[in-house]
Symmetry: C2
Amino acid sequence: MEGFFQNYLRLYRSLITSLNELMSNYHLSYSLWQVMYYIKNYGPSTLVDISNYYNVEKPTITRRVHRLEELQIVVQIPGKDRREKIIQLTELGEQIYKECRLEIINLEKNVMEGISKEDQHITYLTLPKIQHNIMKREGNKIE
Amino acid sequence: MEGFFQNYLRLYRSLITSLNELMSNYHLSYSLWQVMYYIKNYGPSTLVDISNYYNVEKPTITRRVHRLEELQIVVQIPGKDRREKIIQLTELGEQIYKECRLEIINLEKNVMEGISKEDQHITYLTLPKIQHNIMKREGNKIE
DNA sequence: TCAATATAGTTACTCTAGGTAACAATTATC
DNA sequence: GATAATTGTTACCTAGAGTAACTATATTGA
């Protein structure tokens, strides 16, 4: 699919700008939201889980988590290891998650105007497949 | 489409990392490539054209263009105005474009493995529609 | 026709986000 | 029990983008 990356990346700046604007009301940015989203949807997790999921280095997630702690949105509790820390949402975090989620869903609806449900769904499913293929490629390189 | 942004943005870091790695052989990054891509496919253009297309501020494009000039990939020639500068590819720029393009197409193929042509095509067409909707929204805000 | 406004592009400064390398503490492995 | 791997952190650096203020031209319209 020639020019796919172009179409994908052209969209990035517009989207991230809209989202950050939306989230700034909660003193959040989309990068912080990603952490909240992950632990809400995959359950309390470690820094390593999150960093693998988004394909981002560990120190990056350390920083995000620290910011979320300051905002009292997450806490870290000891894991089964004495190394591990489990990151989870606080009461306040859950609340903010819900409010924000609604606004994001609303934005998603607006942005999908005039696009058929099927096409939306296909796109929704295709992106993770691409992600999967890239991760596989990266894995191979290490060999 | 709930969770769409999540799927879209999760992919970002993986993709940009792969692309930048590919382009580093040419002393390029994807942000520089975007400028080359634009003037190759839409013809010699001004800074403002490019900055509108990618929804990025003017100084950002100024910087990208200056870097491309240093690499002798583009030149700026006077436009019809005495304000305007038209950015165009040099011979060298054309050459590098072609080489790079092939590698990118190749990466695109790899990354689309196991995804049907139709689904690829639908995704390809859907992303610009979303872009269009966002731009429309932003336009409305200014009112 | 000329004053006010708009446009193209630049410069200087700042901010966000991420990466790398090196490390401590702990756990797994052989 | 020594070696290797894993979790998380700190300190430092880089890429990339935004904002505000500016210059130099062009356009508008009173």
